[in-house]
């Protein structure tokens, strides 16, 4: 009976892949691999390509990881090495609580509170100072942009990287840390010389798991990214990701080919999801990083 339950779980995963591929077959046979680089998306004219959404997915995820990785690791260091016991017992769960907030609520807050704030205060400032770099272009009127989506994704990824890394840092043997301290190392030197090198592969795996989350998030991103159809160099322009395009288009499909193309996007997303997971497992080595995700 237990084995049966296990078989059911394995079967589900196989069935997921099968369903998505059959759903996408029409679009796959029509467009082939060129779908991946074609940037047009005009459902009414039967023109479909994943170029724009792949760009949006890459840019938002890259931005989220650039912000979330150092923040998450810094929080983990605070929780594992700096915080007094009492504070640790409060702040740790609070950070994990951030991961428990449903993405639709984060998105609601993003579209109504964060986007106007970003549009009025953050984007003009960045444009004034760094305007010579194309990614900090002229702000739009709504604040619905790749930039806002990147910020929302950062909020989602930070608790993942932070809590997974904290668990790893706590596994560093005390002898090693105290040995370094006894040799006169300052706290930063202990971190740089002992804590980070002994947990590096696990932290990298935690980051990849966070990246997987950022690449696959649909709802919150769909709410704040503005659903743009063109690639812009500027982060402040609207765009779309693989997942947000599926979430926003699927309720209003105009043709069978449209549905099939959305399934094609989902197949790409599935492959990305599987690959990030396998990479995380491969580089985690002796660390069992994923166990932290269930809390």
């Amino acid at each position: 009976m237990c084995a049966l339950a296990g078989a059911l779980a394995v079967l589900t995963l196989v069935e997921v892949a099968y369903q998505l591929i059959t759903g996408a077959s029409l679009s796959v046979s029509r467009f082939g691999p060129a779908f991946l680089v074609h940037t047009g998306w005009k459902p009414n004219f039967g023109v479909f390509g994943a170029g724009t959404v792949l760009y949006g997915t890459a840019v938002t995820a890259l931005m989220a990881m650039t912000l979330a990785t150092p923040l998450g690791i810094a929080i983990a260091l605070y929780l594992s090495m700096l915080a007094p016991r009492g504070i640790r017992a409060v702040v740790g769960p609070l950070v994990e609580m951030l991961a428990a907030i449903p993405s639709v609520i984060l998105g609601l807050w993003g579209v109504i509170v964060l986007a106007p704030f970003v549009q009025q205060h953050v984007e003009p400032g960045l444009h004034r100072v760094f305007g010579f770099i194309p990614i900090f272009g002229e702000p739009q009127t709504t604040g619905l942009s790749l930039f806002t989506a990147g910020l929302i994704l950062t909020i989602m990824v930070v608790p993942i990287v932070a809590s997974l890394s904290r668990d790893l840092f706590l596994t560093v043997p005390r002898d090693l840390k105290e040995g370094a301290e006894a040799l006169g190392a300052t706290r930063w030197e202990v971190i740089r010389g002992v804590v980070l090198p002994t947990t590096a592969s696990g932290v990298a795996a935690a980051t990849v798991l966070g990246l997987g989350r950022a690449l696959g998030e649909a709802i919150a991103v769909a709410q704040v990214i503005g659903d743009g159809n063109v690639i812009h160099a500027s982060l402040f322009a609207p765009g779309a990701t693989l997942a947000s395009r599926i979430a926003l288009d699927f309720q209003f499909v105009v043709s069978k080919l449209h549905t099939a193309s959305l399934f094609y996007l989902a197949v790409i997303l599935l492959v990305i999801g599987l690959v990030t997971n396998l990479i995380a497992q491969a580089i985690a080595g002796r660390f069992d990083v994923q166990r932290g995700l269930v809390r």
Partner: protein, 320 residues
């Protein structure tokens, strides 16, 4: 900058242990114990790092605070007894409540849990109690659960659409199946963790008494792991209760009234309602979305805190 007193840079000579070993090699040199400017700089760098780590933690807590405060502030104005007990108006517009969505979400999530909890716990039992150490199937199952956990939820939604909805139409049951797929790997994982913590001596004692494997599992191991399994399940259910993407394609074309039957038609639910209202331009709809968000967030955070308290208490008991 020389991070360690012996002058070797432990990062460049990667493994930490070797850096530690290389330290005594220099011990013949007389130690200079006066504070150099270098020491002051090293201490300063360390303080900067301390400060930025603390600031990062503060930032995360502040973001949580701003978020929760925002939802409470915006949601409180629409919250009332009527909001919780009345259905949304038939054709949009102000007034009414979210009663049908609350009922729908409770039903859908309950059915999903009824599917995912038994399968998840059984799969975990298989992995920890029944599978041989070198069982190939156990490895495949473990891998499948990990990969399932990494599935983007929107992919789960499309899968269930293709499986149950295409050609049949939306249904609350399809929503339950989708949420069950989200819950399953979480429950299996957390149950497995707890089962591994059950002391081996318990299993051996049962075996020595000639108790069969199944009786051991039911009578000894499950009771010992029960509180942990319950905690893990609560967390997984709370996670699934807020998921929108799996429901969006399979259970979104609903009518505003209360639906007690999950089969054959769509059932109103809170996450999809918040999503559709937040995409619309109607201000009264947005107010309703904030109210619904407050209700959902309160339940989910309460479940999270409750599960943590339960976990801490059971841990304290088992560790004495």
């Amino acid at each position: 900058m020389s991070p360690l007193p012996d002058g070797t840079d432990p990062v460049d000579s990667a493994p930490a242990e070797s850096a530690m070993e290389s330290a005594p090699a220099d011990s013949t040199a007389p130690a200079d114990l006066t504070a150099s400017g270098n020491l002051r700089r090293r201490a300063a760098i360390s303080r900067v790092v301390d400060a930025s780590a603390t600031a990062s933690a503060l930032l995360a807590v502040a973001v949580l605070g701003v978020l929760v405060f925002g939802v409470v502030k915006q949601g409180a104005s629409s919250l009332s007894f009527d909001f919780l007990t009345e259905n949304p108006p038939q054709f949009g517009g102000p007034g009414g409540g979210i009663a049908s969505a609350i009922v729908g979400t409770v039903l859908i999530v309950t059915l999903a849990a009824m599917m995912a909890v038994p399968i998840g716990v059984l799969a975990a039992l298989y992995l920890t109690e029944f599978a041989g150490r070198r069982s190939g199937f156990a490895r495949v199952l473990k891998m499948a659960l990990d990969l399932m956990q990494g599935l983007p939820t929107v992919v789960v939604g499309l899968f269930v659409f293709g499986l149950l909805v295409a050609g049949h139409g939306n249904s609350g049951f399809a929503g339950s199946v989708a949420l069950a797929i989200v819950m399953l790997p979480l429950i299996a994982r957390s149950s497995q963790e707890v089962l591994l913590l059950v002391p081996h001596s318990l299993r051996e004692a049962a075996e020595a008494l000639g108790v069969s494997r199944w009786r051991t599992v039911v009578g000894v191991i499950l009771p010992a792991a029960l509180s942990g399994i319950v905690t893990g399940s609560i967390l997984a259910i709370a996670r699934a209760a807020g998921e929108t993407a799996p429901l969006l394609f399979v259970d979104s074309l609903y009518t505003p009234g209360v639906q007690l039957n999950l089969f054959g038609h769509a059932v109103p639910n809170i996450p999809v309602m918040i999503f559709t209202l937040s995409e619309g331009a109607d201000p009264s709809g947005v107010a309703r979305a904030w109210g619904a968000a407050l209700v959902l967030l309160a339940v989910i955070l309460a479940a999270n805190i409750g599960a943590r308290v339960l976990l801490a208490r059971s841990r304290r008991r088992t560790m004495g």
